[in-house]
């Protein structure tokens, strides 16, 4: 299971894109959809194929100055790893 590095530029895998389901924002992919909430949503909104992982982490750290930076880092890495596993995100 590969983890992204600071310089990886995550992007949506082919066939994965945003959609909405009622009030919820979801990611649609060939076999179905996943609901993304809270932390996941704020991470995934920064996934655009341009920003690298370091940039995503620093953006979130600025946005949530009270949160523990090591935890933010861990959240981002494990979330991206999980979505990579589901083939939703490439890096």
């Amino acid at each position: 299971m590969p983890r992204p590095s600071d310089s990886s530029r995550p992007r949506f895998a082919a066939g994965c894109r945003w959609g909405s389901h009622g009030e919820d924002r979801v990611v649609l992919f060939p076999e179905g959809m996943i609901r993304v909430e809270a932390t996941g949503l704020s991470i995934l909104e920064l996934v655009d194929g341009q920003r690298d992982v370091a940039h995503i982490i620093s953006t979130l750290a600025e946005r949530y100055p009270k949160a523990d930076p090591t935890k933010i880092r861990e959240d981002v890495l494990s979330f991206l790893e999980k979505l990579h596993d589901k083939r939703v995100v490439d890096f």
């Binding site: 299971m1 060939p30 959809m33």
Partner: protein, 365 residues
């Protein structure tokens, strides 16, 4: 009254026309002629209504969807309506430029079915020289940014080459591989005796798939479902009757699943006469097997009834003649012998293609 769920997916059989003649085709034996097909504007309206009803995924299938000249307009309309569009195709009728136009119009995912690893065997199962074209088609898909699934349709006549088939599919470059055991509806039911896998093949299949999943982890996802004839419990057919999916046939009839047309007592409403919302919420056909009222024993008091909903209604009817019976694929079903009697432990004599006589899917104009 059962809780009413919202549909998540719409299967749009936009035409029954198809240049192939696959012996495992699940289309009904009586197919719908081109002159009865819905018009472009009907489908455009359906896609909008479906999205409003909650549908997220659209599966464009057939027949061969590319047999419709307006495929690009349909994909565009679905995309604009906000649907995620999947195209289930043999690739016949789609050259590089037409495919590129479909992706441009908003196509999200292409699913290509493969019949066997070698040209002769594959064409023998498809009843058409389609294999070489499929290889070229996969090349065209790979040039575009679109999700790509290869679907290996397996049965007794090709399961002995499953490893070769997987290796062949890898070369086609999909993101995902689906290994689909033939389901016995339509033409496949007609050919069941020739298609039914042996228990030995199913066991081998499981270990081959497991090994391939390990080998290809992180590169290509492999999904495979055990055929219900050899499983202990039935599948939750279509995620439960009238719970997740709806299917519209080429002439506009709305059905809860592919095969529901075989159940004689059911009357299906048509999108030409009614809104999709009315049909989903109110039609007799969709309400017929919602909830648990209709169930017989052993389903009625079985713990699994909220997971598999008593199995497939169409299979229950086709095999037992009673549409409310427990699906005979279930090991607890009183009529389970109807399924076990079809099982084959192993075949020592490998069949030659010349030994097999089966019915190819017919042509419809």
């Amino acid at each position: 009254m059962a809780t009413l769920h919202k549909p998540l997916a719409l299967i749009a059989e936009i035409t029954h026309r198809c240049p192939l003649h696959c012996v495992y085709c699940s289309n009904p034996l009586e197919m719908i002629a081109a002159k009865k097909e819905l018009a472009t504007h009907d489908w455009v309206r359906i896609f909008q209504e479906a999205r409003q009803l909650g549908v997220l995924h659209l599966h464009l299938t057939g027949g061969e969807p590319a047999a419709r000249a307006d495929l690009k307009e349909l994909i565009q309309a679905a995309h604009v309506a906000g649907l995620y569009t999947n195209l289930i195709t043999s690739g016949i009728g789609l050259n590089e430029s037409r495919l590129a136009a479909l992706v441009e119009a908003g196509l999200d995912h292409v699913q290509l079915s493969i019949q066997d690893a070698t040209e002769d065997r594959a064409n023998w199962i498809a009843g058409t020289k389609a294999h070489a074209h499929k290889i070229a088609f996969a090349g065209a898909v790979n040039k575009l940014r679109v999700a790509f699934t290869v679907n290996l349709v397996v049965h007794r006549q090709n399961l002995d080459h499953l490893e070769e088939m997987i290796a062949f599919a890898e070369q086609l470059g999909p993101n995902r591989l689906e290994i689909a055991h033939t389901q016995y509806y339509g033409w496949a039911l007609k050919n069941r005796a020739q298609l039914m896998p042996t228990r030995e093949q199913i066991e081998q299949c499981m270990s081959i798939v497991e090994a391939a999943q390990k080998r290809l982890a992180g590169k290509m996802r492999i999904d495979c479902v055990i055929p219900d004839y050899y499983a202990r419990y039935p599948k939750a057919c279509m995620g439960g009757w009238g719970r997740r999916l709806l299917l519209i046939d080429p002439a506009g009839q709305v059905l809860p699943c592919h095969a529901a047309g075989v159940i004689p007592d059911l009357k299906f409403d048509n999108v030409r006469d009614r809104s999709l919302e009315w049909i989903w919420n109110k039609s007799a056909a969709f309400n017929r097997f919602r909830g648990e009222e209709w169930m017989q024993e052993p389903c009625r008091s079985c713990e699994r009834r909220t997971e598999d909903f008593g199995g497939c209604r169409c299979q229950a009817f086709l095999l037992t003649g009673d549409m409310t019976a427990t699906d005979p694929a279930c090991s607890l079903a009183p009529m389970h012998h109807l399924v076990t009697s079809q099982q084959i432990e192993k075949h020592d004599l490998r069949e030659e293609t010349t030994d097999v006589s089966w019915s190819y899917r017919a042509t419809v104009e």
